[in-house]
Amino acid sequence: MSTTDIFRDASAALKKKRAWHWFEYVFWLAVAASVFLFPAQHTLLTQIAIWSLFALSLDLLLGYAGIVSLGHAAYFGFGAYVAALFAINYTGDPLTVLLVAGVAAGLLGLVTSLLVLRGSDLTRLMVTLGIALVMYEIANQMSWLTGGADGLTGMPVNPVFGIFPISFRPTNSYVYVLCVLFVLFFVARRIVHSPFGYSLRAIKGNPLRASSIGISNNLRLIAIYALGAAYAGVAGALLAQTTPVVSLTYIDFQRSADVLLMLIIGGTGYLYGGIIGSALFLIAQKFIGNVTPQYWEFWIGFALVVIALFARDRGVFSIVERIANALRKEKAKS
């Protein structure tokens, strides 16, 4: 093989890795179609899209940089409160509010990253959990600002670009949330396929080697942690804009645990895991939960055990992959 051939193969292989797969086109077409196919379910679908963005933000940390977090709701909740307070006091323009909430949560992420990035996985779990608990208690205590246990209401939500009303309109809300999700997904996809994104994978895969090839591990991790926090803040702001009240449940432990669960169910490190996981989680919750609430917990627990044992990386996706591979082998045999 000549050098030119090698180069051509190399270039083609890298291009193939970052190119949009047909599965991705189908996926997003299906997402867009959901607007028309399930008009009665737009409220649920909006919830799914917001959780998807939240889970995506955690995937940036866990799936690409290997940072585990049990307190990611800290940034989600902070973004939501900032969004509500900013809208009440300044402007209800939804995109401005999203931007402010994202920047604020990103800054909180930047500051707290200095605590999180020290130590091992276990330390990180404890520190992130601690940060979220502290944030929860601050929100609870500062009831003059946040409404405390009663929550924060009366947040104005203007039409998007002044022409597309979303307040109390489930369909428009859903379209709005989907657009934000898609744009931020697109940006995230670009980032994880950038040199910066690859350096995160290197740090996750082997921090010792990463620093031995000249990567400043800490700075890169701080950057992605702040970005993940900003994404979570935007997700929180979206929920604030599409529900009547911002409450302490935005920031509680249950939310941090749920988003981690959704991500693990959908699988980490390929960006779609958070979306697939939160869709499965919320749809299952709705339909199984309708039959019997206890059963819901049973099945979620069961799914978690199965996935943790057999499909840790890619969640349900790797189960599908395994079945597909097995079928392919069967076919080849016959």
């Binding site: 050098t3 190399a10 270039s11 890795k17 690859y198 994978r201 620093s211 031995s212 400043s216």
Partner: protein, 249 residues
């Protein structure tokens, strides 16, 4: 001119002194070997040179300038890279991606978050030709973790070279490589670019004497003797350490 130099370098862990006043001088362009029995302090010395450990006393100089207080990644930027005795690779990336990553970091592209990885033709070209040079042409796009051990060993060295170092530290490059694949690694080591100064840390005397033009012997954290291969071979103190005490394996 010394490419790499230590001055009265000392490292203490409590009562143990694995590096005890080491004055090592590696000349520009040298093929320098550092040998010594198990427990002589070779690994500690490498960690001091690369910045993984901070010395208790003394300085490390690279090309004449003091790098004692620089972090590992900053030392890489100054031109010192290393390989590891036990492979330290990016298991989930392909050899091509790993090498391209190193080149990108060398060219200060590592913080670019909006351009595409592999979109820069010159980097891919260099990565591909480097991979070919290290016998990885037919494994470019495999997952690194699925490569045979010998190939992984090649990649280990390729990653260090991709950083275009002035000084390269090779930590037992042939460690664990099966006899049949050994000559490939040795050829690779022999074919390293001449303008790179190499400090080889090695246990295997065949490799050392086949490669080095200068040898330092480290015993109990101190440099026992330094000289050319012939002098070292005939030095009674070295013989005592290696043959008399049977410390070598």
């Amino acid at each position: 001119m010394n490419a790499l130099e230590t001055v009265d370098l000392e490292k203490r862990f409590g009562g143990i002194v694995p590096t005890n006043g080491v004055n090592l001088q590696v000349r520009e362009g040298a093929r320098h070997a550092l040998i010594g029995p198990n427990g002589a302090g070779k690994t500690t010395l490498i960690n001091l040179l690369t910045g993984v450990l901070k010395p208790s006393k003394g300085t490390v100089k690279l090309g004449g300038s003091d790098i004692t207080n620089l972090k590992p990644h900053q030392r890489v930027a100054r031109g010192i890279t290393r390989t590891f005795q036990i492979n330290q690779l990016f298991a989930d990336l392909s050899p091509l991606e790993s090498i391209a990553l190193v080149i990108g970091e060398r060219e200060k592209r590592g913080t670019h978050w909006w351009s595409t990885f592999g979109g820069d033709e010159t980097i891919v070209r260099e990565a591909a030709s480097l991979a070919a040079q290290f016998g990885l042409a037919d494994a470019l796009n495999e997952r690194t973790s699925s490569l045979p051990y010998g190939k992984q060993r090649q990649l280990e060295i390729a990653l260090a070279i991709a950083g275009k170092p002035r000084v390269l530290l090779l930590d037992e490059p042939a460690a664990g490589v099966p006899e049949a694949e050994r000559h490939e690694i040795l050829e690779t080591v022999a074919a390293l670019p001449k303008d790179v100064t190499v400090l080889l840390i090695e246990h295997d005397m065949d490799i050392v004497f086949g490669f080095a033009d200068r040898i330092s012997v480290l015993v109990d954290g101190k440099l026992l003797v330094e000289g050319d291969p012939k002098e070292i071979q005939n030095d009674p103190r070295v013989r005592a350490v290696y043959l008399g005490e049977g410390a070598d394996d």
